[in-house]
């Protein structure tokens, strides 16, 4: 039956514009980095096109592959946390928005399988977006002729971005639980925005390795340096979110 749950959860996306909207949003990240690098490459050209204000200060930005490889995981980690929260809130929250939750929960299928099925859809969806962002980065960086691309750096860019995407995914079951608890999108999106802000705040303190959202924001630019304790914190966040979501669907009232 789990196979049929996976098939139907993917089938629910047919004809939906939401995957395309999230793809467009994800592609804005690498495009934004590339735009700034393109400006840095030739400030005079950018100024003539009205892309550079007179007070703009891009002194800290280098138009190189090492810089791109440093920024991309941060963009996927930061904006990605919000985008993934939106995806998860959509997958779980639509059942309440479309009033189909009662149909789903009244099926002869263990409710936990729906939680797992929707997470599987979110995982594949998120992986496709991350791969698209990496692909776009390589296309734009190559088109701009950025210097400094080596095989080792290319591998690091891909690894760091995928690890950041994976770390973002580990905190998303908590968003699923909030969505089911509140029976809609809004609370979950508010929670995600709040955690992103808190994560940013905590990332400037000594608690960063212990707070899941701060780990995603700070730890992934150099994935080799990630402490095992932080990995365990992320895995614990995933397990807690998954368990809370399943227990909520199975034992709470679903009016």
């Amino acid at each position: 039956m789990i196979g049929q749950v996976f098939v139907t959860e993917f089938a629910k996306l047919r004809g939906s514009a939401v995957p395309w909207v999230t793809l467009a949003a994800m592609l804005c990240g690498p495009a934004g980095i590339a735009l700034f690098m393109w400006i840095v490459l030739d400030p005079a050209r950018a100024a003539s096109l009205g892309l550079l204000g007179t007070k703009a200060n891009l002194a800290g930005l280098e138009a190189t592959w090492p810089a791109f490889a440093g920024y991309l995981p941060l963009v996927v980690g930061g904006s990605g946390l919000l985008l993934l929260a939106f995806i998860v809130a959509h997958l779980y929250g639509r059942e309440y928005a479309d009033d189909t939750s009662k149909n789903m929960l009244g099926l002869p299928v263990a409710r936990g399988w729906f939680v797992v099925g929707k997470l599987a859809v979110a995982a594949v969806w998120w992986l496709v977006l991350a791969v698209a962002a990496i692909g776009e980065a390589f296309v734009l960086g190559t088109a701009m002729g950025l210097p400094g691309l080596t095989t080792e750096l290319g591998v690091r860019l891909v690894t760091a971005t995928l690890l950041t995407a994976g770390a973002s995914f580990l905190v998303c079951p908590i968003v699923a639980w909030i969505t089911i608890w509140a029976r809609g999108y809004l609370a979950a999106l508010g929670f995600a925005i709040g955690m992103l802000a808190l994560g940013d705040l905590v990332s400037h303190t000594g608690w960063a390795p212990w707070f899941p959202w701060a780990i995603v924001l700070t730890g992934m630019a150099t994935p080799g340096d990630l402490a095992w304790a932080s990995v365990l914190v992320l895995l614990a966040a995933f397990a807690a979110g998954l368990a809370a979501t399943v227990l909520r669907l199975v034992y709470a009232d679903n009016p």
Binding site: K12, P108, A110, Y251, D253
Partner: protein
């Protein structure tokens, strides 16, 4: 006496101090059409949601198709088709795609989709997205979803909602056929007496979360006639009959039979 398909004993559901269901006892027998009649807010939908395991009772015991609710998994729902409150479907999917989801998750054969589409006269809308269906056709889709896996028990909350007069007659005939010819047990709620009176073998009247009366349809009709004769004037009764005649005429003129 036929085997009980649904039994509820001392069923209670409280939301804080509000009792939505308050000591309800219920028995629905195999093959019968049971009309669960009550005004808005009487506790009909809460009872139905409890019967389907969507909400947990505060106290009491419920058994559906021999399965005691609150124990075991969800496999017993394979024999139950239902429609709760309002019609709903995935708006981005077509009628066929919506039904295919249901088919896969209930283990029904592929041919079942075509059969219910024909039965519920959804053929012309089969490739239309559910979000673009009229309310009436959305209701038909929800009924098709409930019937798709040929359940033993149908639990229907206001099944005539949003249907036009001809549609109401069609659904009425369909439910009667399922009960008489296929032995399907139907538990249907309504706040419309006429809807229940047309179909039900037995009727339970619920008020303030309690079953206040339960009787076979004909017995209840006799009680109602006595009540009307004793409580209303001849002119008031004539007015009521006129309304009834007008409804029949309207149904006949819009394709609903004689």
């Amino acid at each position: 006496m036929s085997e009980a398909i649904i039994t509820a004993e001392g069923l209670r559901k409280h939301y804080g101090r509000v009792a939505a269901v308050d000591g309800l006892d219920l028995e629905v027998r195999r093959g019968e059409i049971y009309g669960f009649l009550g005004r808005n807010g009487a506790g009909k939908t809460t009872t139905i949601r409890i019967l389907l395991g969507l909400i947990r009772p505060t106290s009491g015991r419920v058994s559906v198709l021999g399965h005691t609710l609150g124990t075991g998994g969800q496999a017993w729902l394979r024999q139950v088709g239902f429609l709760v409150e309002s019609a709903s479907a995935y708006p981005n999917l077509t009628v066929l795609e919506n039904l295919d989801l249901q088919r896969r998750l209930t283990g029904a054969p592929a041919s079942a989709v075509g059969e219910v589409v024909e039965r519920l006269a959804l053929g012309p809308y089969a490739d239309r997205r559910a979000g673009r269906l009229s309310l009436g056709n959305k209701q038909r889709l929800s009924l098709a979803r409930a019937l798709l896996h040929q359940p033993e028990l149908l639990v229907l909350d206001e099944p005539a909602n949003a249907l036009d007069p001809a549609g109401i007659v069609e659904v009425r005939d369909l439910l009667r056929e399922l009960s008489r010819e296929h032995g399907v047990t139907v538990f249907m709620s309504s706040h419309i007496l006429a809807e229940v009176a047309h179909l039900a073998d037995r009727v339970g009247i619920v008020a303030d979360g309690r079953l206040v009366e339960e009787a076979p349809r004909d017995e209840l009709a006799a009680r109602a006639r006595d009540f009307v004769r004793d409580s209303f004037t001849a002119a008031e009764r004539e007015e009521a009959l006129l309304t009834d005649d007008l409804e029949r005429y309207f149904l006949a003129r819009t394709g609903g039979g004689r």
